[in-house]
Structures are given as C-alpha cells and as structure tokens.
C-alpha cells in the first residue's frame, strides 16, 4: 500500500537571527599545567535556546583532559554568555571548541537543524626551563 505521510523535519518555530561564538581561531601559550580560555556565545534567536559545549581534537574525535563549570546552558533570547574552559596544557594541543544548539523555544523542543559554531584553538604547552 502506497501511503503518504507528511512529516516535519522539525516542528519548531522559525529560527531567524543568529547563533555565533567568539573568539575564532587563536594560538595561545600556556604558562602552567592548566590553561584557561573564555568564549562568548551569542543567542540572537528570538526565543530561548540551549547550547552544549563540546571540544574535539583536530580530527573531530572527542577531546579529553578539559573541563567546564557547565557543559550545557540555557540562554534567553538575544543574550550572550561567557563560559570558561580549562585545558590540560603540559604539551601542545590542537583543539576545536564548539557551541552546539540542542534545544530551542519556550517549550524547550529538540532542535533538528543543529547549528554548531566551532573555533580552532592551539595551546602551546607549558615550557619548563
């Protein structure tokens, strides 16, 4: 039996406006075994959105030896949030730090078109004399 079911890829509000993150690509020099880095995510959507923080290696495999105070955060419409990450920096690391949209709207619905903004980060490991 041939049947046709129309489904929505996502029953979500229309997302017009923006998701962005700063800074972009940066190279930093660690001065201790732990290196801190702060990023800012902007949620310029007209409704709340939830983002998760992800860190990958250069080949997009999940990175280890990093931590954040919070790994997901819900943001109000047209707002921005800073989050600090701490990385083990005993050796040089090439990482990709991402903010990924997970939920949107006042009903906290799952996003289906998932925007992900990623910044490259090179941490030159701490040098001991």
């Amino acid at each position: 039996m041939k049947f046709l079911v129309v489904a929505v890829m996502c029953i979500l509000p229309t997302l017009a406006s923006a998701h962005s993150m700063s800074p972009g690509f940066e190279t930093e020099y660690a001065v201790s075994d732990t290196h801190s880095k702060t990023y800012t995510v902007k949620n310029d959507y007209n409704f709340p959105a939830t983002y998760k923080v992800e860190v990958f290696n250069k080949d997009m495999t999940p990175a280890t030896e990093w931590k954040a105070k919070k790994y997901t955060f819900k943001m109000k419409p047209n707002s921005k949030k800073e989050f600090e990450l701490k990385f083990k920096s005993t050796e040089t690391r090439k990482l990709i730090v991402c903010s990924t949209l997970t939920n949107i709207g006042y009903e906290n619905e799952k996003a289906s078109i998932i925007s992900r903004v990623c910044s490259r980060l090179i941490i030159n490991g701490v040098t001991r004399l």
Binding site: K2, L4, V6, A7, A16, G24, K110, S115
Partner: protein, 164 residues
C-alpha cells in the same frame, strides 16, 4: 657622447616643464579599519518538510540556512541518519542523501554537495563578508517502515558546523 648627454638633459628638462605646466598631482586619503568580528554567524535556520513514499522520505520544502562569514575556514552539513520523534527519540535508521541541495552566494568558495554531506570550503577566498544561502534538500531511505506509526510526525536531524 656629449651629444647624447645634452639631448638627455634637454628631454628631462622638457618633461619637467611639461609636468609643471599641466599641474597634475595626486592626493590620497589613508585609513585603517578597526577590528571586525571574524567568524561565522547563523542568520537563518528554518526547518524543512519531507514526505514518505514507500520507504523513502523526500524533502518537499527545503530547510533554509543563511550563514554570514568573515574570513573563516569551512562549513559542513551532516546527518546521523536517524529518524526521530519530535521529542528526539530514535525510531529507526534513515540514510540521508543530500543530492539536490542548492548553495548560493558562495562567492569563490568550494562547494561540494555529496550524497552523505555538504562541504563548503575556502571561505576565505576574496574579501569581506559572505552571506551564504543553503536550501537543504534530498532524500532519506529506510530499509522498511515497520517501526513507523500512522499519521505521525518524524524528523531527521542535520548538524551544520561552521569552523572558524
């Protein structure tokens, strides 16, 4: 030799006089920009619609994406090939094929629309801001529809990554 030197001096003098008479000069305004925010911003993110015929979902209204970039590296779109309920619960696999996707305003970037992914590279080509428009189309094929319920909404997720 003396003649050549004399002639050269005469020509140089004439050129100098001529320039003075015409009075052409150039002036410039110099300036330096401030620091622009480099990176990518999702400006539009509108979900699409798909319909099911036999075992294949076909996009009938494309998802619309608009991404503003300044001096960033690349964009990729991929799916995890899962059919989900609107609440995000996995129902079954559905193999996505992005053939038919349309990318406009890429302005010199490399656009590759592959069955399993869309990749836009070399976004640093040229100067200034690019505002890239993507109409995300395609199909998603299931092995069977045994797990599906009648008149029920489903969705397929697509992750759009902008690397800056």
């Amino acid at each position: 030799m003396k003649t050549i030197i004399t002639t050269t001096i005469a020509l140089l003098t004439a050129t100098s006089v001529s320039a003075t008479v015409l009075g052409t000069a150039t002036a410039t305004w110099g300036g330096t920009t401030g620091t622009f925010s480099e990176g990518c911003t999702f400006k539009q993110n509108v979900a699409g619609q798909m319909s099911l015929t036999n075992n294949t979902w076909t996009v009938i209204n494309p998802a619309l994406l608009q991404i503003k970039t300044r001096n960033v590296g690349n964009l990729t779109i991929e799916s995890d090939d899962k059919l989900r309920t609107p609440a995000g619960v996995e129902v079954d696999s559905a193999t996505v094929n992005y053939t038919g996707t349309i990318v406009t305003n890429a302005h010199g970037a490399n656009v590759n629309i592959n069955p399993t992914s869309v990749a836009i590279g070399n976004l640093t080509a040229g100067n200034g801001v690019k505002v890239i428009n993507i109409k995300l189309k395609g199909t998603a094929e299931m092995s069977n529809t045994d797990e599906l319920s009648s008149t029920t909404a489903y969705k397929i997720n697509h992750t759009v990554t902008c690397l800056q």
